[in-house]
């Protein structure tokens, strides 16, 4: 199971990297989303996948009676999902605004902050 999931993570990383290498913001955005999903599966796999009982403590007992699944990766993934979701929402708005205001989503042509023909600094006093 872990081997299969590792393969899935690897494929997702490859696709995400390919998308992030693009010049266009919208593809980069999709790449980042894929990357964060790949990370979630990675953490899930790192927590070891096994079919055991859910991590619930029965009433009256102080600890689980038998072997239970590891609840921590799920907590980590939930946190990561929340964060990546909010970042995706923010980046979507930002990319949209940038596209509207700058008229392009090609990062090569977004040179407002760093003008291309920036001359030399003053060389003599």
């Amino acid at each position: 199971m872990e081997a299969t999931l590792s393969l899935v993570v690897g494929c997702l990383f490859a696709v995400a990297l390919y998308l992030i290498l693009s010049k266009h913001i919208i593809r980069m955005l999709l790449g980042v989303v894929l990357l964060s999903n790949a990370v979630n599966i990675l953490i899930f796999t790192a927590g070891r996948v096994a079919s055991v009982a859910p991590p619930l403590v029965p009433e009256g007992a102080g600890a689980p009676l038998s072997a239970v699944a590891n609840p921590l990766p799920q907590a980590l993934i939930l946190t990561a999902i929340v964060i990546s979701f909010s970042f995706f929402a923010f980046l979507l708005v930002l990319a949209y605004r940038a596209y509207q205001d700058l008229g392009t989503d090609d990062t090569d042509r977004m040179r407002v902050a760093e003008p291309e023909n920036d001359g030399l600094p003053p060389l003599g006093y």
Binding site: I43, L94, P122
Partner: protein, 559 residues
């Protein structure tokens, strides 16, 4: 495995909550200001006391750590390896206190320099949110929690970066956001691997267990990935291009805080994770780090020389400073590649700290005796990082004031500020000398320590590049001062880029000089009386090299 006793027992006194207080106070103030978003004119009157309170808490925490050693509080009373730990040692406390100081100065500056409409977009709430994230990153003892604080401060910084939504800002923010998001995702990926290997995320627990995995390729991979992720956050050489693309676009105050704080959070995380948790891997990567440091310093210094715009020149100063800090991280103790014995962590009573090399060393000022080269260099790096936080913030604020006075931040268009505002010019001169590393200001001593550490560790090239960078930055600083302040104002229209926009001069109230003065006081005191600061950074460096006290604070039963 899982015992019923997963909870810590024992009462806490209110003083124990100092560990968590900076974060909680920041969020509380930020949220209240956000709720009162219509009453912008009240914001400074709430925000400045708020930041003063945060600074007070940070200083109290620093004093407590200096007196009693590292402090720990477990969230929700869960027992150490299970719950999230907030652990503060001298390193975290020093960074947090400096961050609080800088934030207070920036808040005062913003009060007097920002127009009402600029504040309407929510400057102060986002500032509190970002400071909450920064404080959390400095104070947490859990590596996943560190990731969460990185994201929190990133969200806050996004908000600050696009304040005003000008074209230039959207351009800069796009690059900044994507690069930083990829960096934190890389951080998360590595943390996933780390969790798979160790089964724990508590830094003290990892420090204890890392010794068992000696010479493991997986650990080296993790260490290298962390180096890439934090190097990207810190804008180290091959990954530094997002910084000059974005840091000059937001408001002056925002740039100042970003330049001062955000890259240093990356540096702090690198020190905490790479040097404290993986000392053998750090020793393996030391050569790589020293080349990164050399190239970062040169890229920063040469980049600064090539700029004609004051703000973009300052961007490269930030990068050069990062390179200098990295130089301190590149030094290892020759022959001590093996991890110091931290397994017997609980045996170390909190407060007594021994040097990594095994010499019994009380927390005495540096230069008095001969601790390991790594401790010397790390102490210098921490000192330089603190100096850099203060002086970069100060430079951006002073540069912003100068640009407002002359209506442009281009070196072609500025001039005559020495006659117009001699006080500002004098302060700017102090900051420029300090950032170049000239005595008697705060940049001098850490550079002395770093150069000394580099030569002591047998890295003469590194030491030479630190000195060369200092020289190049002096040239760039001299150019700034000569053009923007010393010469007579250029005639209108004579500048090459004066044709596109007429300079709009803005009045600058005298009170906005107060934060500059506060920052200058720190720069001068740290330059003239460095002993107290060196004593503290020395303790911080020893605590990183031998984290026994840190581990003892977490597992020694609560606080």
């Amino acid at each position: 495995m899982l015992k019923a006793e997963a909870m810590v027992h024992g009462a806490f006194s209110p003083a124990d909550f100092l560990v968590i207080a900076p974060v909680a106070v920041c969020f509380l103030f930020g949220a209240v200001l956000l709720m009162a978003r219509k009453r912008v004119e009240w914001h400074p009157f709430v925000a400045i006391p708020g930041f003063a309170l945060v600074l007070g808490i940070d200083v109290a925490l620093l004093l407590k750590v200096a007196a009693d050693g590292p402090q720990t509080m477990m969230m929700g009373n869960w027992r150490p390896p299970f719950g999230i730990a907030f652990t503060v040692d001298m390193l975290g406390a020093l960074f947090a206190a400096t961050a609080g100081f800088v934030a207070l100065c920036a808040a005062i500056y913003a009060t007097f320099s920002m127009s009402r409409t600029e504040r309407r977009y929510g400057f102060f709430p986002f500032l509190f949110l970002m400071m909450g994230g920064v404080s959390g990153a400095f104070l947490t003892g859990d590596i996943f929690n560190l990731y969460v604080w990185f994201e929190v401060l990133l969200i806050g910084s996004f908000g600050l970066l696009i304040l005003g939504s000008e074209h230039e800002q959207l351009d800069g923010a796009t690059k900044y956001s994507f690069l930083n998001l990829v960096a934190t995702t890389l951080f998360l990926i590595t943390t996933g691997y780390l969790y798979g290997l160790f089964g724990t995320l508590n830094m003290a627990d990892i420090a204890q267990k890392a010794g068992r995995f000696e010479n493991d390729g997986a650990l080296l991979t993790i260490a290298l990935l962390y180096l890439v992720a934090f190097g990207m956050k810190a804008a180290a050489f091959p990954l530094n291009f997002w910084l000059p693309a974005s840091y000059h676009t937001p408001r002056f105050v925002v740039s100042a805080l970003f330049a001062g704080l955000l890259t240093k959070v990356g540096v702090y995380a690198l020190i905490r994770v790479l040097l404290m948790l993986f000392p053998p891997q750090h020793a393996d990567l030391a050569t790589l780090i020293s080349w990164v440091a050399i190239l970062t310093m040169l890229a920063g210094a040469l980049g600064a020389l090539a700029q004609s715009d004051l703000r973009r020149l300052l961007n490269y100063f930030v990068i050069a400073g990062i390179g200098t800090i990295f130089a301190g991280l590149a030094v290892t103790d020759p022959g001590s590649g093996a991890a110091p014995a931290v397994v017997a962590g609980a045996a170390q009573a909190a407060g007594t700290i021994t040097a990594a090399t095994g010499d019994a060393a009380a927390a005495a000022p540096l230069l008095a005796q001969h601790p390991g080269a790594m401790v010397v260099a790390l102490s210098g790096a921490v000192f330089y990082a603190l100096h850099s936080i203060v002086v970069m913030t100060a430079l951006y604020l002073a540069g912003g004031t100068a640009a407002r006075l002359s209506g442009s931040s281009s070196l072609f268009a500025m001039g005559g500020l020495w006659r117009q505002r001699p006080g500002l010019a004098a302060l700017m001169l102090v900051f420029l000398l300090s950032v170049s590393g000239l005595p008697p200001f705060s940049g001098f001593w850490p550079k002395v320590i770093l150069v000394r550490g580099a030569f002591q560790a047998g890295l003469p090239l590194l030491g030479a590049v630190i000195l060369l960078t200092g020289f190049l930055m002096t040239v760039a600083s001299a150019r700034v001062f000569a053009f923007a302040f010393w010469r007579n104002p250029p005639e209108r229209g004579a500048g090459t880029d004066g044709a596109s926009f007429p300079p709009q001069k803005e009045p600058v109230p005298l009170l906005s000089m107060l934060p500059l003065l506060m920052l200058a006081v720190f720069v001068v005191i740290a330059g003239i009386l460095p002993q107290w600061l060196v004593g503290l950074t020395d303790v911080a460096a020893r605590g990183v090299v031998d984290p026994a006290a840190y581990v003892g604070s977490v597992f020694g039963g609560g606080s």
